[in-house]
């Protein structure tokens, strides 16, 4: 099952690369730099999915006390932090030639940066507690607090300022750009989501094996 997921994500990623570099047209004003946009939004999307999964798994853990839910939260937080970091990195690489700066304290950038530090803190807390059951309980609480904090973070930084382009895909009225851009983007979103599921499944399995080895 996990192996099938791995092959699926490999094929989808390969298709995504071919579409982004071979099929998608060269953007008129930004040039080839724009092709990062076939990777950057999917990464950011997966980051949000990952942290939503952490919150959901945390609630399930507190209600049912299944170690599996805790392992899912743990694995998803790790993968989420990596994808958030990659989203920030790809955004910077795109921002330098386009906005003329690697980083700016724009609303969306700031909120993603906060998301990143929040879940790095989450992983630090996990790493500091030796007792698994205690780590699971505390991290579940932190996962829920962090998720509920996100709307507050969103509003507070949004009122501060924004420079980031408004979302082109998830907005009222739907996507209005060309299909030549939309198809490669959607294929990449699917590919990265599959990759996320594969990595989480693999990591959760590893966590279970670790626990078995220690017990």
């Amino acid at each position: 099952m996990v192996r099938v997921l791995g092959w699926l994500s490999a094929f989808a990623l390969a298709a995504g690369v071919v579409l982004a570099f071979g099929v998608a047209p060269r953007e008129v004003s930004q040039g080839n730099v724009q092709r990062i946009m076939y990777v950057h939004p999917p990464l950011a999307w997966v980051a949000y999915v990952a942290f939503a999964v952490v919150a959901a798994a945390s609630v399930v853990y507190l209600v049912r006390r299944r170690p599996g839910a805790d392992r899912l939260a743990h694995a998803s937080a790790e993968v989420g932090v990596v994808f958030t970091g990659l989203a920030i990195a790809t955004g910077s690489i795109w921002g330098k030639p386009t906005w003329g700066t690697w980083w700016t304290w724009d609303a969306r950038l700031t909120s993603v940066a906060i998301l990143f530090v929040m879940y790095v803190g989450y992983l630090l807390l996990r790493a500091t507690i030796d007792d698994r059951e205690r780590a699971a309980r505390y991290c579940a609480v932190l996962g829920i607090v962090a998720a509920l904090d996100m709307p507050l973070v969103h509003f507070s930084v949004y009122w501060l300022r924004t420079l980031h382009q408004p979302p082109s895909l998830l907005k009222p009225g739907g996507f209005t750009g060309s299909g030549a851009i939309l198809t490669p983007l959607l294929v990449n979103v699917a590919a990265f989501t599959l990759l996320y599921a594969y990595l989480v499944a693999k990591r959760a399995r590893l966590l279970r094996a670790e626990r078995g080895a220690l017990a």
Binding site: L62, I114, V117, M118, G121, L124, L125, T128, I129, E133, R134, R137, Y138, A140, V141, L142, I144, V145, A146, L148, D149, L152, V153, F155, S156, V157, W159, L160
Partner: protein, 225 residues
């Protein structure tokens, strides 16, 4: 005993211990005085520049002293081996949370009052009309900081490297509160009416409700075992 009374007993116990030992309060007050020195040296005597950064610096003072105060919330029980005694308190554990939160809020209010007074004297702030609005903003911000701080203090009380981990966990979560309080304070100190910062005040109120509600719901989980 009713829920409210049990919460009051916990708060009363903490405040009584604090009044007799003055362990935390004296050091905190002195710390906030020292912070003023640090800010003065870091920012220099230029009054123009100072006026621009004052709201941020004021909140930096509040937060640094709050981090010290909140981090110690459950250390009385730990250092004096009364942890089990606290856990044995009958009934819903969230009463313990409310009691601890109450004691923390009082402690923070005392320190914040001193910090604010020192700022007025040393940085020559004209509070004037801004004062009632400022009290509201500081109160809402303090509840936000205290609500999450008290919950996280219970989580970090028993783990290694708690002094480092407590701020590392608390600060990212508190960013909305910090932004809202600094921006609202800035507007008030510029002489604008509270209405100009109404959206920030509403955000703070919403944050307070969310934080206290989550903490009440999850505190049981943190204390068990």
């Amino acid at each position: 005993m009713t829920f409210a009374r049990r919460a009051l007993v916990v708060a009363w116990k903490d405040l009584l211990v604090e009044r007799r030992s003055k362990e935390t309060l004296n050091a905190l007050l002195f710390f906030s005085l020292l912070l003023l020195f640090v800010f003065q040296f870091a920012l220099g005597p230029d009054r123009e520049r100072l006026a621009g950064v004052l709201p941020g610096v004021l909140w930096l003072g509040f937060i640094l002293s709050a981090l010290l105060a909140l981090g110690r919330t459950f250390l009385i029980e730990r250092e004096h081996d009364c942890w089990e005694g606290l856990l044995l308190a009958p009934g819903d554990k969230s009463a313990i949370y409310l009691g601890k939160l109450g004691a923390n809020l009082l402690l923070m209010t005392v320190v914040e009052t001193l910090v604010l007074a020192l700022f007025v004297v040393f940085f020559d702030i004209d509070l004037g009309r801004a004062f009632p609005g400022l009290v509201l903003v500081v109160a809402l911000g303090t509840v936000g900081l205290g609500a999450v701080g008290t919950l996280f203090a219970a989580m970090t009380a028993h783990i290694r490297a708690r002094e480092v981990l407590f701020p590392v966990l608390l600060l990212p979560v508190q960013i909305p509160v910090l932004l809202a309080t600094v921006k609202a304070t800035e507007a008030l100190l510029l002489g604008e009416p509270l209405g100009a910062a109404a959206h920030w005040v509403k955000l703070l109120a919403a944050a307070d409700v969310v934080y206290v509600a989550v903490a009440l719901l999850t505190f049981d989980v943190v204390l068990e075992g």
